[in-house]
């Protein structure tokens, strides 16, 4: 191989998946080259074939899939036709893979270091002792706390962000020439994500490793990659180097992806101070068993307003919602609805009180009974609360489906499994609307969705709010969503409200230091953002380390 031959060269790759006894195309001919030390970002919505493509770059396909055409040349070897033995020699030692969920990918029964040394000893790269010493060195480079000792812990004893870094260290163990990162930070909080991103970037640069970075987050990919490839439903849309791609996208689809973050609702006038709030949470404390999770939380939600509750996982956002719905009766404090005290336990609330506060869930998959048709799902609250039956019920369901922009005749008899993620979430909204509530809790409703789909849901929620004068409590960890939809913001940390106020105040300095950290950790589209941030704050003042200092 001469010096300017690419390390990995994929040509005309076609992949098919088997369903209903026929082979359906998943990737319709993709080609790209990757030079030594080059990082390529692979972006697209779910179902675009990103992960399939990442695995195919290792000559591997999931069960029920096959590579039907094309070549994957890695350093002169075609991985598509290579024998199992040849592939075994390459995978792990020269090509490595980092999966989305490190928690699910580590074997919970073995210590981190034992799993780390498996690759190098198997491939005869290092002895067990050398590999252990090297592992500790890598942990130090990835800035894991206590690098000497952390390897002797079990996967459940370290946090999600640390586990993701340990996995990156494991992928690095044999100093591979190519690493495939499949959404390595998607499941992490913003402050943790930034730390992992910085570590990955640093170590990839240090060892001159080529990488394919798969993600649906454009801002993340802008920080990480030298060039970007955009995919849509198995087709290549375009490929260019990062700066060109960001400043001057060619294709309509890419432009629409770039434009997603511009959705912004106009600010509403300030609430009249004497108005009675729809929901008033007053000095609420709550505990799971004996473990306290909420401490003296108070906030008001006014008619026709959206209050965004933000914070990292474990900050008590969802617990606050459970207190309002009555699923977790608070140990102290009380909840007022339209100025009236609500019973704390949902079992003691009457039908009218239950009807007024509805909930939309994060995972539409588990929030809709998979054995019921859309008509039944939406029809039940219509019948239960409004007492409508027969044709009246059907008309109301059809009206609700129109409201959420789904064609009634086409969807009313389908099962949830026959809908896309965004459509399922819309059904969740319709079910909440069917009760004709005043107040809806939206628990991370867009975090499981692609950005374009999420934007559609946000627009729908905004439209419904204007039409029906609804109040939303919007729980999220995504500050971009907050910017686009919220009127007021409540920042939570460790079960306490750190700061609250109108959105415009919250997004203009001065902030509480924690709010500041949250805001500055949200990746921006500027490819220099991470570099600038690191220069400005120093590596020890980002992420968990900074949170711990507070």
């Amino acid at each position: 191989m001469s010096a300017d031959d690419p390390l990995l060269s994929v040509k005309g790759l076609k992949i098919e998946g088997r369903s209903d006894e026929t082979w359906n195309p998943i990737i319709n001919g993709a080609s790209f080259d990757l030079q030594k030390g080059e990082v390529m970002g692979l972006i697209g919505e779910s179902g675009a074939g990103k992960s399939t493509m990442g695995l195919a770059a290792m000559g591997f396909t999931r069960d029920g899939c096959r590579i039907s055409a094309g070549t994957v040349m890695f350093d002169g070897v075609d991985l598509v036709t290579a024998s199992a033995a040849d592939k075994r020699a390459l995978l792990g030692s020269r090509i490595a893979y980092v999966a989305q969920s490190a928690a699910a990918s580590f074997n919970p029964a073995h210590r981190l270091i034992d799993q780390h040394t498996e690759g190098p000893t198997q491939h005869n790269v290092m002895s067990r002792a050398e590999s252990e010493a090297d592992g500790i060195e890598l942990y130090r480079k990835l800035r894991l706390p206590n690098p000497e000792e952390i390897g002797f812990r079990y996967p459940h004893q370290v946090s999600g962000g640390q586990l993701q870094r340990a996995m990156t260290a494991m992928a690095m163990a044999c100093r591979p020439e190519l690493i495939i990162f499949d959404e390595p930070t998607t499941a992490l909080d913003v402050t943790t994500q930034i730390e992992v991103l910085a570590s990955i970037r640093e170590i990839v640069e240090e060892y001159n490793t080529a990488a394919i970075y798969i993600t649906h987050d454009l801002a993340v990919v802008a920080q990480m990659s030298d060039k970007i490839k955009v995919m849509l439903k198995g087709d290549e849309v375009e490929e260019a180097d990062t700066r060109t791609m960001l400043s001057d996208p060619k294709e309509e689809y890419t432009k629409s992806l770039w434009a997603v973050r511009s959705f912004q609702r106009p600010s509403k006038p300030a609430v009249h101070t004497s108005a009675t709030p729809v929901i008033s949470v007053q000095n609420v404390s709550a505990a799971y068993g004996k473990v306290p999770v909420l401490h003296d939380v108070s906030f008001d939600i006014h008619e026709g307003r959206t209050v965004a509750v933000v914070g990292e996982s474990g900050s008590g956002k969802s617990t606050a919602a459970r207190c309002i719905t009555g699923l977790l009766p608070p140990t102290q404090g009380h909840i007022e609805f339209d100025g009236q005290m609500m019973p704390l336990d949902y079992r003691k609330r009457d039908r009218m009180q239950l009807r007024q506060a509805q909930m939309i869930y994060q995972m539409a998959d588990t929030a809709l009974n998979p054995r019921k048709t859309i008509g039944e799902l939406i029809g039940r609250p219509v019948q239960f609360y409004m007492g409508l039956t027969g044709n009246e019920k059907r008309r109301r369901v059809e009206h609700l489906l129109e409201e959420i922009e789904l064609e009634p005749t086409q969807y009313i008899n389908r099962l949830p499994s026959e809908l896309s993620g965004g459509q399922k979430q819309r059904i969740g909204i319709a079910r909440a609307l069917a009760a004709e509530p005043k107040f809806i809790i939206c628990d991370e409703v867009t975090s499981a969705l692609d950005q374009l789909v999420a934007e559609g849901i946000l627009r729908l929620l905004a439209k419904l709010q204007d039409e029906l004068n609804l109040s939303y409590m919007f729980i999220t960890h995504d500050l971009a969503t907050v910017k686009s939809i919220a009127d007021e913001v409540v920042v939570m940390k460790d079960g306490r409200v750190i700061e609250q106020g109108p959105k415009d105040d919250m997004f203009t300095p001065p902030h509480h230091p924690y709010t500041d950290l949250l805001l500055s950790s949200v990746p921006e589209m500027d490819p220099d953002w991470l570099t600038n941030l690191l220069n400005e704050r120093g590596v020890d003042n980002i992420g968990d380390a900074a949170v711990d200092k507070m």
Partner: protein
């Protein structure tokens, strides 16, 4: 010592054959991935499979060309098993083929994706159901009818002690065995079905209640079930049947009702465990929370939200449980405390005809009588398990 040398020699020969097979395959197909990536273990498996098949074919050839009564008797059971295996396979294949073109769009699609084992299972279950329902029409004689001719040999050939009226012969007191076998389907299968339904009603109700309500009710029911499960079930059933026999006195129908109740209660403990475990997984779903927050009652939660999502594992368990109940009844009858004479029952038939097995060497037809009843039990068990396996596979496939 000699036998060990033989076994080792055969294994080594098979190993060499496997290696040669792989090597030849690689050469002949120009290193196709199938042969290229084949491990030695798989190659050995092919050689072993080929050797077993060869042995079966040569033995079968010997069986059909056997000369003289002694030789024929020697291969009688082997030949019967092979022939019925082929017959059943062809029948199952045809059965599947027919239903790929007959029936509603849904069933046609079902049969298109069905493995042969499952279509065999469904076919056998349908045949049993048909026989059980129409036993009175199909059977040539009544199950309690006693004829003057006792100990008629099966085969219907008067020359060797048979009688065309009784194709399977008669027992020691002159009852027609074919009719008793057919009525046995009605009694054994019917009672087993009723018992399983009762076990599911009990276990399912309590299991879902425990999962939904939790708390002290869950503790109380679960611990009681633990106590019941701690006692070996067959011994427990025997013990209770002995007590029940004393209560029922000479009333045989009452004793059968007691038996149904006893087995249902004992088996409902296993159903309870499953229903509770499945229920617990469903109860934590957001849609259950949504229904609770809507203010739905317990009945709606259990029957409209939980039950539809638990049908797949429960149905699979129903199949397995049915087999166990069926075997328990047959065992109890074999031990003499189950279904009481004069009602025909396969377990009792195995016990009554058991000594005929001694005639295997010179009259295999006679020896096959207890095996027919035992085979009827075994065939249904295998068939149900095939169907259950297929359903489990399907339901787990749907989850992906």
């Amino acid at each position: 010592m000699n036998i060990w040398i033989q076994i080792i020699g055969i294994l080594v020969a098979l190993g060499v054959l496997g290696w040669l097979f792989r090597f030849a395959g690689q050469k002949a197909t120009n290193n196709k991935p199938f042969f290229r990536d084949m491990t030695f273990g798989v190659a050995f498996g092919y050689a072993l499979g080929a050797a077993v098949l060869l042995w079966i074919l040569t033995t079968y050839y010997k069986a059909i060309t056997a000369d003289g009564q002694v030789e024929v008797n020697k291969y009688f059971f082997f030949r019967t098993v092979i022939e019925w295996f082929v017959k059943f396979s062809i029948a199952a294949y045809l059965f599947r083929l027919v239903f790929r073109y007959v029936g509603t769009a849904g069933t046609r699609k079902l049969f298109r994706n069905m493995p042969l084992t499952a279509s065999f299972g469904i076919m056998i279950i349908l045949v049993y159901a048909f026989v059980a329902i129409f036993a009175g029409v199909i059977a040539p004689h009544g199950q309690e009818e006693v004829f003057a001719k006792v100990n008629v040999l099966p085969g219907g050939d008067p020359a060797i002690g048979g009688d065309p009226d009784f194709p399977l012969g008669t027992d020691q007191i002159g009852r027609d065995l074919l009719s008793r076998l057919i009525y046995g389907a009605q009694n054994t299968v019917g009672i087993a079905f009723a018992t399983t339904c009762l076990a599911f009603l009990l276990g399912g109700t309590f299991g879902f209640l425990a999962a939904t309500l939790g708390g002290w009710l869950d503790q109380l029911v679960s611990r009681s079930v633990d106590v019941l499960m701690a006692i070996p079930s067959l011994i427990f059933a025997l013990l209770l049947m002995t007590i029940a026999a004393a209560w029922a006195g000479s009333n045989k129908e009452l004793l059968t009702v007691y038996m149904v109740l006893i087995i249902a209660v004992i088996d409902s403990t296993r159903v309870f465990r499953l229903a509770r475990a499945v229920g617990l997984n469903i109860v934590v779903m957001d849609y259950i929370e949504a229904a609770k927050l809507r203010g739905e009652g317990l009945g709606y939660l259990i029957f409209r939200e939980i039950l539809p999502n638990a049908t797949a594992p429960l149905l699979a368990e129903f199949g397995l449980r049915f087999c166990f109940v069926f075997l328990t009844i047959a065992s109890l009858s074999f031990l003499g405390v189950g279904i009481q004479p004069p009602l025909a029952d396969w377990g009792t038939m195995v016990r009554d005809l058991g000594q005929f097995i001694n005639f295997a060497a010179f009259s295999p037809q006679t020896a096959s009588l207890p095996l027919l009843a035992a085979g009827a039990i075994a065939l249904l068990t295998v068939a149900v398990n095939f169907v259950v396996d297929w359903m489990l596979h399907k339901s787990s496939g749907l989850k992906e």
